[in-house]
């Protein structure tokens, strides 16, 4: 049985590689051997979108790993963060619509991001303290509460910010393209990847090199033992919820600049975060990284290397990724069984 799965898996992988290398004629990207530049672009797209997936999903997995709370309001914090940053940017630029990137200084993009992340972090913290703290340990009930909050927030955001899609402007300094080896690529997408790397390294350093990080890692492994040692776990929980929600909002600001904000975006990004952590394993930062890279690869490559008439079937590949990982490892690549 084992070797059937192994041979099958490698065969599928080999077929996919051969397809991309030689046979992918009639696809938007064309085969690698005839159009290598398109391949590099798709690869860069995969890496940069993975960066955004990682920022959002790392907050989700941090909260789950420590507190066993599936925060289904995570997508709402993403969208709320984006909307808040847009409001701040409008105030700073002094225009209420049609902001061009030339009018936006780097400061008028970074300050809204920081403020939005802080506010969303505080809202997440409030939610945890008011509603979730008293039901600690009843994980299904906590999850239902986050669903209720997400439904209310989604509706209120439609009321406050309207139903039409809007977007945040990138600073003018970044909003252009560079050309290397005859390949033209958007600087903002590379910037997104850079931010993701900074966030990833900072999170890693925080969790591995500081005392708070040690307590969090200990809490992930054995919560009651940490409490028994006299450490104030409640404080750590509150901190994790703050950071997790702030990361969602930060992702929202970047996602709102890169794509757009609108009703339904919250659900889409909740879905992205969930797929990343199911594939990578809940509660593991390494898992979030692996999951982001896999999901990013699938979402960038599937539409580019499917025959042009079948591009819209690319969503099926997300399902295939999920099903394949679950069949092989039900708790994700880096997850531990309950």
């Amino acid at each position: 049985m084992q070797w059937v799965a192994l041979v099958g898996g490698w065969t599928v992988a080999a077929v996919l590689v051969a397809w991309v290398l030689v046979f992918a004629n009639g696809t938007p990207a064309e085969p690698l051997l005839s159009e290598p530049r398109d391949f590099v672009k798709v690869l860069l797209n995969a890496l940069t979108i993975s960066g955004l997936y990682f920022i959002v999903a790392s907050g989700f997995t941090l909260i789950f790993g420590l507190m066993r709370v599936v925060n289904l309001a995570h997508g709402s914090f993403f969208l709320l963060g984006g909307y808040l940053a847009l409001e701040f940017q409008k105030t700073m630029v002094g225009k209420s619509r049609n902001i061009l990137s030339d009018e936006v200084s780097v400061f008028a993009w970074v300050l809204p991001l920081v403020l939005a992340a802080l506010i969303a972090g505080l809202i997440g913290l409030t939610m945890q303290q008011v509603f979730l703290r008293r039901f600690q340990g009843q994980d299904m009930r906590e999850t239902l509460i986050t669903i209720a909050i997400s439904v209310i927030l989604a509706d209120l955001m439609v009321a406050w910010f309207g139903g039409t899609a809007v977007d945040i402007s990138w600073p003018g300094l970044l909003d252009n393209a560079i050309t290397v080896f005859d390949i033209r690529y958007s600087v903002t997408r590379l910037f997104m990847l850079g931010v993701a790397i900074v966030v990833g390294v900072a999170l890693w350093a925080w969790l591995q090199k500081t005392r708070t990080g040690m307590v969090i890692r200990a809490g992930v492994d054995d919560n009651s033992m940490v409490q028994a040692l006299g450490i104030n776990v409640q404080l750590v929980f509150a901190l994790a919820f703050f950071v997790g929600s702030a990361l969602a909002a930060m992702g929202g600001v970047m996602g709102g600049s890169f794509a757009s904000l609108g009703a339904g975006v919250d659900g889409q990004w909740l879905l992205n975060s969930i797929i990343v952590v199911i594939v990578g394993g809940m509660g593991s930062l390494t898992g979030a990284l692996a999951g982001s890279l896999l999901l990013g690869t699938v979402t960038a490559f599937a539409p580019s290397y499917l025959p042009a008439n079948f591009t819209h079937y690319s969503i099926i590949f997300t399902f295939v990724l999920l099903a394949a990982v679950l069949a092989w490892r039900p708790y994700g690549l880096f997850g531990k069984p309950e």
Partner: protein
């Protein structure tokens, strides 16, 4: 052979067939059957029929949660797949989709069969996971399904499929609202009785055993994964019945009918009603539809800004309050009131049970005793 570890077998403890619960159920059914004589066509079609079809879909969710401990958010997808299959099969043109133009009866058969097969596949993929993992995996199925039907214009596209015909016997719901209403009642009674019956078969008892302690059931030789998968398949079959009713009632189906809002709505219906008992499905659906149609008549809400357009906020708040106060929903609140009024009556049968302490203290005591005796070799 012991099949359940913590919960007693669900059946009346006395020989009497007449229990408070059954009397209430029959009274509710009679009231629903005679309702068209007393209310307008609007109420029959837009309120009561919708309650019935949402109730069927929510019952499939509650069955999995109560008997299998699996909170599935894929039921809305399965509900929608049945609708989309019928839409593709029976339309004759002038709409998106395959426009196969088949007989409506054949459409039903295809819709139910295809949905049940899909439920088996999805169940097989997700059933190795439990608890929150299962919830998240099924949520991704649901949302991927939404994007699938939105993007793949061969089957639907975001505009959806219009002008879906019901069989001639049922006709147009606009013209003959009672016909579809009685069909929906019939399907609801069928779904309720079937799920309750299955819960009492050896399969259902083993499923409850899996819910309570899957490791133990596994070591007793039960195929845990297969029990979960088959339960998911059965729930998919029931959800497809709801989907058939929906597409006849709505005459149209689009991806927005199975979007994340609708996915969460179905869970909200189940939790508001009471996720531990099948009856909760229809109670929750009634509250949901009632709020949707009549919230504008509630005095005071408009003044604080909660107008009809903020329906989701109101439902979300009700849901939040129910989750905070009563994890077993309105049915749980009702049971507590009944117990206060008539402490000696109305507890001849308990639901399939929960870990949240439904059931009277005596029954709980008895459960403890039973599990204690079982633990001794």
């Amino acid at each position: 052979m012991t099949t359940t570890s913590q919960e007693p077998v669900v059946k009346p403890e006395t020989g009497s067939m007449v229990t408070t619960e059954r009397v209430l159920l029959v009274l509710a059914l009679v009231a629903l059957l005679i309702a068209p004589a007393f209310t307008s066509d609007f109420v029959v079609s837009f309120v009561l029929t919708q309650v019935m079809l949402l109730g069927v879909a929510a019952a499939s969710l509650i069955f999995l949660a109560a008997y299998g401990g699996m909170v599935s958010l894929a039921q809305t997808l399965l509900f929608g797949v049945a609708g989309f299959t019928i839409g593709n099969a029976v339309t004759t043109g002038g709409s998106k989709g395959l426009n196969l133009g088949l007989d409506p009866w054949l459409g039903i058969l295809l819709g139910i069969t295809f949905t049940t097969i899909l439920a088996f596949i999805l169940g097989a993929v997700s059933s190795r996971s439990t608890g929150l993992y299962f919830l998240m995996i099924t949520l991704t199925f649901g949302v991927i399904g939404f994007f699938f039907f939105g993007q793949v214009t061969t089957f639907s596209g975001f505009g959806g499929i219009n002008q879906v015909r019901a069989p001639a016997v049922i006709g147009e719901p606009g013209q003959f609202p009672e016909r579809l209403y009685y069909v929906a009642i019939g399907v609801s009674v069928f779904a309720f009785l079937l799920l309750r019956y299955v819960g009492r078969t050896p399969f259902g008892l083993a499923l409850q055993g899996v819910r309570d302690d899957h490791v133990r059931m596994g070591s007793l030789g039960f195929n845990v994964w297969m029990h979960r998968t088959l339960a998911f398949t059965l729930a998919g079959f029931i959800a497809s019945l709801g989907g058939v009713l929906f597409v006849w009632w709505n005459r149209q189906i689009d991806p927005a009918s199975i979007g994340i809002g609708e996915i969460l709505s179905l869970l909200i219906i189940a939790v508001i009603g009471g996720i531990n008992r099948l009856e909760g499905a229809w109670v929750g659906a009634f509250v949901f539809v009632w709020v949707n149609n009549y919230v504008r008549d509630v005095p005071g809400l408009n003044q604080i800004g909660l107008t009809e357009a903020r329906f989701n906020t109101i439902v979300g708040l009700i849901f939040l309050i129910i989750v905070l106060l009563s994890p077993d929903g309105l049915i749980g609140i009702g049971q507590r009131i009944v117990r206060l009024i008539a402490p000696k009556k109305g507890r001849t049968s308990q639901g399939p049970g929960s870990d949240s302490g439904s059931g009277s203290p005596e029954t709980q005591e008895k459960r403890k005793l039973e599990s204690n005796t079982e633990e001794e070799p």
